[in-house]
């Protein structure tokens, strides 16, 4: 089970929870599980999200391995200039 930190404005989709726990061992499974357990997250996930795994930011990296004790933070999809 992985703890996932949810940013503030998405918490209306997680019953106000700042952190949710889902069964996942990679980013794809994590996203799929979030959509199943918290359908209100789906529009944002479809628009795009990044995630920080133990402090490193990843985009579009479905098969990045996530350990049970990893710090996972959901973030908006990153762009730059």
């Amino acid at each position: 089970m992985v703890k996932v930190a949810i940013w503030g404005s998405l918490r209306s989709a997680t019953d106000g929870k700042a952190e949710v726990v889902v069964e996942a061992s990679n980013f794809k499974q994590l996203l799929d599980q979030l959509v199943i357990e918290y359908p209100g997250l789906e529009p944002q996930i479809k628009r795009g999200v990044s995630f920080a795994l133990d402090g490193k930011i990843y985009r579009d990296a479905w098969f990045t391995k996530i350990n049970d004790d990893s710090e996972v933070v959901l973030m908006p999809y990153m762009v730059g200039g």
């Binding site: 930190a5 940013w7 503030g8 404005s9 998405l10 918490r11 209306s12 989709a13 700042a18 209100g40 529009p43 944002q44 628009r47 990044s50 920080a52 133990d54 402090g55 490193k56 930011i57 990843y58 985009r59 579009d60 990296a61 990045t64 710090e71 933070v73 973030m75 908006p76 990153m78 762009v79 730059g80 200039g81």
Partner: protein
Amino acid sequence: MALDENGKRIFKVVGTRPARPDGIDKVTGRAMYGADATAPGMLFGQFLRSPHAHAKIKSIDTSAAEALSGVKAVITSKDFGTPEDESVRDVQDNCMAGDKVLYDGHAVAAVAATSAAIAKQALKLIKVDYEVLPHVTDVDAAMQVDAPIVQAGRAMDDLPAGMSENVTYHFEFGHGDLDAGFAKADKIVERSFKTAATHQGYIEPHACLAAMNSDGKGELWCCTQGQFYVRELCADIMEMDASQLRVTASEIGGGFGGKTTVFIEPVALALSRKSGRPVKVVMSREEVFRASGPTVSSSTDVKIGMTKDGRITAAHATLRYQGGAFPCGTVQFGAQSAFAAYDLDAVQTIGWSAMTNRPKEAAYRAPGAPMAIYAVESVVDELCQELDLDPLEVRLKNAAGEGTKSSYGPTFDAIGLKATLEAAVAHPHYAAPLGPNQGRGLSCGFWFNFGGNTSVSMNLNFDGTVGITEGNPDIGGSRASISQMAAEELGIAYEKVRTIVADTNSIGHNDVTDGSRVTFAVGLATIKAARDAIQKMCARVAKIWDIDEDAVYWEDGYAKPSGPNAGTFEPMSLEEIAAISAETGGPIAGHHEVNADGAGVSFGVHLVDIEVDPETGATTVLRYTVFQDAGKAIHPDYVEGQMQGGAVQGIGWALNEEYIYGEDGRLQNPGLLDYRIPVASDLPNIDTVILEIPNPGHPYGVRGVGETPIVPPLAALSNAVSRATGLRLSELPMSPPRVLKALNAKG
């Protein structure tokens, strides 16, 4: 891909300053920019643009223009389909208005003719019947429930009910108990700030040459930061397969984020398809201002509590950004980065984004961060003044470090903020004396950086030289730094390597040149491609020596036997291996494709001395020093150039640059005479101090450097002006009339 050998590698080529490969072409005028492309039978495309900020298009009559001799095609939105993807639809609607014009300068029609003069004449013959609608250009006004609605039905699903339909995005970040944090403070300062929209100020206007063939294949030459993204957008809009549209990026005369999307390219392709001839479009400077993509403008409230000894106890910010006439999520990056420099127990940021009747925002170095950090760093500075504390010491006391839970969520890995602040404390600039009407300001800055999709090919030529093909336009010295990393890895001279930027059909996909990603991600792929080539070279040598591949290793440009058991052989150089590659199995190449992750965040500190003329309100920059953690600086000249360039753009943003709209919603200053960017005579030398705290996520320790330098100047300048005048200004730019007005009000 982790840092090699715990960062202890001794570099031979990386970290040196070889001559830039594009230098001769650029100073002799031979470099081919977007407007330099030509083709036989080429037509000239021009746009008709809206004179209204907001209006319904009741009808467009193009018949007279079409009848003009020399006119080969006229198009309007009716010549385009309806892309399935909403974001692509927005790009198309921004390139050519649909039922409504949404801002002054929005395109309504375009003409292709045998000369630019005929095209211009034809534009005057197009009759557009408008029904003018109420408009709004200010973000705070746009968020009012009774504001004119720019586009209906565009709000995201997670917005609270009862807001203006112009409000599209809402973000919140943070952690901790704010009430408890503010209760611990000895001093709380709460202020509101506004920043104007600014333009990236690239000198080369948008330009392209489009050629659609009757068989459905297309060619597009354009100045862009991302030829693959241009292909994706244009193929979607033109309803083509991506493989049938080849996009070639020209040399680029500045981008800074503003060339990460399209404004003219789909229209040029549509004109070419309709006319059957190649069509060239070059934006005028006025069009660049009115109809490309400036930054957001902002309105921000900040509240920070601090103890008497300078510890921040709680911090809160509400940010309101407008990004023009389409939904724009840039406020999310402002809300995430606002307090990133600080180690805080209680912090919250709230971001709102609203549509206005202005051009669609495009990225500009560290999009969204400079205006948020300007507001935060201004309040931190005011607290230091109120509590009589040293501003650098306070920042050091509160600085984020390894293990800090950042204000946007993740826990930081190794970062260089404290080292950067310590370098500023120790620098002679910080202790230099100041004269009358002079002030010293400073600010921290931050940007995330990221990697992304990247493809690199490396080919060994028979003469022992190396060609590298990559797919990111060189906006900041990437050809040099990529060649350096390849030379380092292969163990050959820099001069033996040449790197080129390929078109979309010559290499695999590459994401846009943005996010300070190229030296990090393309460098990483180059190192991996070199290691791939080395493995193949070692395999060839193993065959020649008739030993196992594992018994051959690579060192300093030579394949060598790995030890006495492998046998005694004379090492073979890359040149020797390449020379006989035809006989040993054919050409040798290395390549690597990756979605690169592990880019390290970057921090900087800027220190500036200014003098304010009390008679005119004009601010002169006297001295400026940039301190930044670059990770490993591959080519220090280019790293310093990025740091200096960001500082200069930030100085312009802080002191002079702004989009000025009249009561009629029209842009009042679409030209470089009235929109004043800093020139060399306005500036002192920008000194730089590069710190090299290796990024653990890159084999050489590279971080991105291109965006962070534009973040601190806004607050650094504002804090300096405050200390010089005793006034806390809360709006940018601090132009002479605005400063003089404040001085006069103070008396």
